[in-house]
């Protein structure tokens, strides 16, 4: 097994700030916009973006939620591993809101497909956008693309992209792990 660093802590910091600024460009004060982290790993990224928006750019109106997609996945009874659910926490109405989905890695697009269905249980958003830190291009199974993107990566199917977070793994770093 070999691994290669895709993003260092310094690069990640720059990208996170750039993504936050791009969000502000489109959503101004976030009066009518909400950000939703996709469980489990998108939540770390959502927390970071939320913190930067609030603390560094003084956007106090921004609201954040967490969405679990386990019960909406299309591989129930198809995958070898049993699916484990995570907490959903959305304490605001998404009806007529501009929703921004946040996930760490965009790969096949199936998680986002599930999230698009799941969020409908909370109302009808006026618009949904997608923000990802890593976009594994050329590996999509569905016609889904990010609106805000940290870094594009060409990775073959046997390779794995792993995003580490200081609050969870003790470091901010993105690795490309290959088993060959």
């Amino acid at each position: 097994m070999s691994q290669k660093v895709l993003l260092t802590s310094k690069e990640m910091n720059i990208i996170l700030h750039r993504l936050a600024c791009q969000l502000i460009e489109n959503h101004n004060t976030f009066e009518n916009s909400v950000i939703i982290g996709i469980q489990p790993r998108g939540v770390f990224l959502a927390n970071r973006i939320y913190k930067i928006l609030k603390e560094e750019y003084g956007i106090s109106a921004v609201k954040m939620g967490q969405l679990d997609i386990t019960f909406y996945r299309d591989d129930f009874r198809r995958s070898d591993k049993p699916l484990e659910a995570n907490k959903t926490h959305i304490d605001f109405v998404v009806e007529d809101k501009r929703v921004i989905f946040i996930d760490d890695v965009l790969y096949t697009g199936r998680s986002i497909r599930a999230a698009l269905t799941a969020v409908q249980s909370f109302g009808r958003p006026s618009e949904i956008e997608l923000l990802t830190l890593i976009d594994r291009r050329f590996s999509r199974h569905l016609p889904i693309q990010p609106d805000y993107n940290g870094r594009q990566v060409d990775a073959i199917n046997e390779e794995k992209v792993k995003v580490n977070w200081k609050e969870n793994e003790g470091e901010d770093e993105v690795y490309l792990i290959s088993n060959v």
Binding site: D68, T70, F71, Y72, R73, F76, R77, R78, K81, P82, L83, E84, A85, N86, K87, T88, T117, A118, Q120, S121, F122, G123
Partner: protein, 310 residues
Amino acid sequence: MSELSVDHLLGIKYLKKEDIDLIFQTADHFKEVINRPIKKVPSLRDITIANLFFENSTRTRLSFELAEKRLSADVVNFSAASSSVKKGETLIDTVNNILSMKVDMVVMRHPNPGAGIFLSKHVGASIINAGDGAHEHPTQALLDSYSIREKLGEVTGKKVVIVGDILHSRVALSNILALKLQGAQVKVCGPYTLLPKHIKSLGVEVEPNLRKALQWCDVANMLRVQNERMEINYFPSTREYVQLFGLNKQLLDSLDKKIVIMHPGPINRGVEITSDVADSDQAIILDQVQNGVAVRMAVIYLLASKIKQQ
């Protein structure tokens, strides 16, 4: 652990502590789901479930049906009163006929103890026991424990007294097994004629005095006197039963602590508990009913995830 150790839910007897923990964790998620504006998830859209009720039921049947529909399963209902059972068809034949119409899971209530176990050995579907005679009623025990956990934080170490007709109650047996498995202390209280002979072998204590039992416990589960299962008189009169084992507001208020009151329903108001107790803020009877849907969704979801894709 993220998978149940069993393929059927026939009784609490066959479960491990980890199974119960997994069911409760999953039920937490479904409880959140059923409080959303749209209370439905698409997980089980390729699963068909048959509800076979060979005995009357309102709450359990509705609860199962709602749980199945909120998971997007297809549901067929069957009640013995209007079926070919009356024409002399055997249980295995009845169920196999239903299964040949491509049904994946069977929820069954049956007057005979062990009916679910028997069926699980002869047919190829997941079986959930929704009550078999006076034997077990596992989903009721699970939702009771889940409600205690929700109200008091955990079940381990809690003191629970089960009051009333223990002899005819499948709720009592399943509850005792579930509570003991989770490390709770259990006492039973009721007329000696309504206590099974070997009840102590289950590791529970008998407390014949209701006041002492209530003073000891954190939670009191008040069972219904099951007149329909009694062929002889087990106590002299309902009036005497009410005086000795009925819970009224006066008795409840005279205790020096606030205990939690549960009832599996249907309530005979004025017999095992009075109306003011049933409607008091110490009673979690309606929470039990709401939790019933979430717990049954969890059980069905976890069993369905073990059905092999065809």
